[in-house]
């Protein structure tokens, strides 16, 4: 690995670079997460790929995890930072349970906590290199929000990270409506994931769909989507070809 000395200009007000810790670039990354609100709660989908640059190195990475009783967290970006966030949340939920007061942190609270963590890290120039999707249901109220690595956060009826923002959100804007049934919600998510599979180079055809409702969280077994390749140009490819060798 080349060690390049970073040069600061003469009039720079920054202190020596060696003092600060900062995450410069991600290593093992996950691609898009897509989620929507439906009749009974939240549906979220993510593939199971962990890319190492352009190599698809890990094919069984679970990028969605339950948080406490009411929430579901999906992440794209650096997997090691996601694992660290899960540890922070473990501690948060533990302390919440230790109050033993019958109350438990809902998705809105967890989302707020994550926003603070991400934004504060951004301010220290040492971000957690993730885009997070936090969804859940508490006391009948559905919640779906997102936080980016620079702390941008908002909630909506449907959210996505990475490529999903460009490819999935337009589909969702057209076709999402209130009180989607579970089947329709899954079909809609699969439609989005299929487009991502076609057009996102780092996507893989092995995905999970997670559902969270008042009753709790379930996550499907990994499965793959059917894709269409029956283009007429691919039939009889040698028909018009002049000779071959």
């Amino acid at each position: 690995m080349q060690f390049t000395a970073s040069k600061q200009p003469e009039n720079c007000l920054l202190g020596p670079e060696s003092d600060s810790q900062r995450t410069l670039y991600p290593y093992v990354t996950g691609t898009s997460v897509v989620a929507l609100k439906y009749k009974d709660g939240i549906l979220m989908a993510a593939d199971m790929g962990g890319s190492y640059g352009s190599t698809l190195r890990y094919k069984s990475v679970e990028r969605m995890k339950p948080i406490g009783k009411h929430s579901l967290l999906g992440a794209s970006g650096e997997i090691s930072d996601f694992q660290e966030i899960l540890k922070y949340l473990d501690e948060l939920i533990l302390y919440d349970n230790m109050w033993d007061d019958g109350n438990s942190l809902g998705p809105k609270e967890v989302h707020n906590y994550l926003t603070r963590v991400m934004y504060n890290r951004r301010n220290k120039f040492n971000p957690l290199w993730n885009s997070l999707v936090l969804g859940g249901v508490k006391k009948g109220e559905k919640y779906l929000g997102t936080v980016s690595m620079i702390g941008v956060n908002f909630e909506d009826n449907h959210v996505a990270t990475g490529f999903g923002n460009h490819l999935a959100r337009p589909i969702l804007r057209q076709e999402w409506h209130e009180n989607l049934s579970f089947e329709d919600g899954v079909k809609l998510l699969e439609k989005c994931m299929r487009v991502l599979l076609y057009r996102d180079r780092s996507a893989i055809n092995k995905l999970q769909i997670a559902k969270i409702t008042e009753e709790g969280m379930t996550i499907s077994q990994p499965y793959s989507l059917k894709t269409y390749w029956e283009f007429s140009a691919f039939e009889n490819p040698t028909q018009g070809a002049v000779g071959s060798w």
């Binding site: 995450t23 997997i79 694992q83």
Partner: protein, 172 residues
């Protein structure tokens, strides 16, 4: 012909490391070359390093970084074993490696494969690539030489092999 050898280049390993689970435990394998640029600094390196009686680690990337991480983890595991009163599990060893790799990600350049056996979970393999992600896998490959092996493993791997199959087909 260019005979300029950069003998001050950092000692990198240019490695292939493999860890494979089978029906009784794990098999680990590694090559023995340590290179400094184009020169082979050590042709008899031992890249499989012991952490405890029942947990070993395969090292790749910077020789210095992987050695120092292994030394620290061996030290922590030793204390942990004393406190726990029994052998450490491979999961604990892997998580200690992860903590060091993750919290020093800006300074370290080492990819490690932890393999061990404990009475709770049997044989387990954990991969800890650059950045400090921890990922448990039925088999793991690492190092710059591993690029050539992805295709082979994808096609030939199966669960529940015998020790002979694991050793002969995959590691050796």
């Amino acid at each position: 012909m260019d005979l300029e050898m950069n003998l001050n280049a950092p000692h990198s390993m240019g490695t292939t490391i493999i860890g494979v689970t089978y029906n009784g435990g794990v098999v680990l394998g590694a090559d023995s070359r340590t290179s400094t640029g184009m020169y082979v600094a050590n042709r008899a390196s031992d890249k499989i390093t012991q952490l405890t009686d029942n947990v070993y680690v395969c090292r790749s990337g910077s020789a210095a970084d992987s050695q120092i991480v292994s030394d620290y983890v061996r030290y922590f595991l030793h204390q942990h074993t004393i406190q726990l009163g029994q052998s450490a599990t491979s999961k604990v060893a892997a998580n200690l490696i992860r903590l060091l790799s993750y919290n020093n990600k800006n300074m370290l350049e080492t990819g490690l494969i932890v393999g061990g056996w404990d009475k709770y979970e049997g044989g387990k393999i954990y991969a800890i690539p650059l950045g400090g992600t921890l990922i448990e896998q039925p088999f793991a490959i690492g190092g710059s030489g591993s690029s050539y092996l992805y295709g082979f493993f994808d096609q030939a791997w199966k669960e529940g092999m015998t020790k002979e199959e694991a050793e002969v087909r995959f590691v050796l």
